[in-house]
Assembly symmetry: C2
Homo-oligomer: 277 residues x 2
């Protein structure tokens, strides 16, 4: 499989915008996906200084050969008004991380942080519908995942976050969009949950412990963690020790790449279909 | 030799701006040069709609990971004010086709259309100093070549162009910068020339003839043609039939790539030095 692209004058451009940018993986990941799908396109990193965001973004979107943008820290919320059309997740949580140019030149944006988690779970054959979820973290990742889980039909989401105001804001935002899903602030694990998700930064440092007071888990509990690290996080280790199945940060990331690729290039063949490469 | 680049978040960007853009060759040519020189950089095409030029260019230059710009039709003159510092050729003819970001964040621009011709001639071992030149075409290419030839020490340049006003403007512009070089409007070949250059579009169409009334050429006449076509232009065929040595559009293009690469990445190894690839 090739991980390189031949760039010509006719090659279509995609860019990921962020500040800083050198750490992003999307250029490698999506440029390879384009190559596998036989699409003459490259995704390049674009380091947009935060103070220049409002004039640089419209200029990038004016490039006639730029067909899509990915958005990373710290721009996911600031990008929202630059889309002429928003998907449900983006509307619900007020942020976008991918935009595509439509045939008429307008731009559609949506947020795939949560869709990536759901796709990652589905890729592993996990059922989400009806789950009773305890989630740690109501920031950007937590908001996106809560929205995607509600859309996927979970029964309830209890949200743990030391910042009570952002829990309340998230509960209010999701309540209107998904009235069937029970949403509430939570403080600790109760007996009524069968899914635990860490959407907080706890676990990013090697000596981090669990994101909260979780205790023993029944083996039918599905455990998810957004944190991507070399070795499993304390939460994932705890889940495995309790015989639970897991959705890791890597599963979520792979799911998100699938979801974004489908969004950027509707109809592109899925990853792995070009198995001869 | 690789003609592909692996693009990561840390890859440095260069872009060529033009309208249209799909026809440009620079992305392939320079991305390969970067790879050969072991520089983690890619040159991408950027289709800047002409009516958006003035706001898109400053935005591109604000990207923290963009280290250089190439400029093609129709922007070479419009780009001039965006450089904070100009090379001699750019100042002389009022246009730039390459800019690089300096360590202090400022931008230096210069024009290499003429330097490419001179480098192409040097690459073939041709002497330019002291030549008495007859040149057809006083547009962008002709202006740049006249400037570079004057700088290279030719004795005289007679310029043929149906637009007398632009011949006069070019003669005036070069006269101040290169008082040693005899510059004048010309109408046809005289006995006193030993170099003929076509810098007009004549020859781009398959049925084009010679750019002017040239007649037989002594074999010590050096003949140049900016036109790049699949088969030799009528002028190059005429030169070869007269036993003259030639600088073709391809020679000029290769020379320009060398000159621009030196400018964009001072100290980068020359092409071909990585002969093991």
């Amino acid at each position: 499989m090739t991980d390189a692209a031949k760039v010509t004058g006719a090659t279509r451009l995609y860019a990921i915008v962020g500040d800083p940018i050198a750490q992003v993986r999307s250029p490698e990941v999506f440029t390879e996906r384009f190559a596998v799908a036989d699409i003459d396109a490259v995704l390049v990193p674009a380091h947009v200084p935060a103070q220049r965001f409002d004039d640089v973004i419209p200029a990038l979107m004016a490039l006639g050969n730029l067909d899509g943008l990915l958005v990373t820290v710290p721009f996911k919320a600031r990008m929202l008004p630059f889309a002429s059309r928003l998907g449900a997740a983006a509307r619900c949580i007020g942020a976008v991380n991918a935009l595509r140019r439509e045939a008429d030149g307008s731009w559609t944006g949506d947020m795939f942080d949560g869709a990536g988690f759901v796709r990652g779970a589905e890729n592993k054959g996990e059922r989400l519908r009806g789950r009773r979820v305890l989630m740690f973290g109501a920031g950007g990742a937590g908001s996106a995942i809560a929205c995607a889980l509600a859309e996927a039909g979970v029964q309830s989401i209890g949200i743990v976050d030391p910042q009570a105001d952002r829990v309340d804001a998230l509960v209010r935002a999701l309540h209107d969009a998904f009235p069937e899903c029970k949403l509430a602030a939570a403080t600790s694990k109760t007996a009524e949950i069968d899914m635990v998700i860490n959407a907080s930064p706890v676990g990013m440092r090697p000596d981090d412990g669990l994101p909260g007071d979780i205790g023993p888990l029944p083996p039918d509990t599905l455990v998810g963690d957004v944190v991507i690290t070399q070795s499993p996080t304390a939460l994932i280790r705890h889940a495995l020790a309790n015989g639970c199945r897991c959705i890791t940060g890597r599963d979520m990331h792979a799911g998100q790449v699938d979801a974004i690729m489908n969004f950027l290039v509707p109809g592109a063949p899925p990853a792995g279909s070009a198995s001869g490469h």
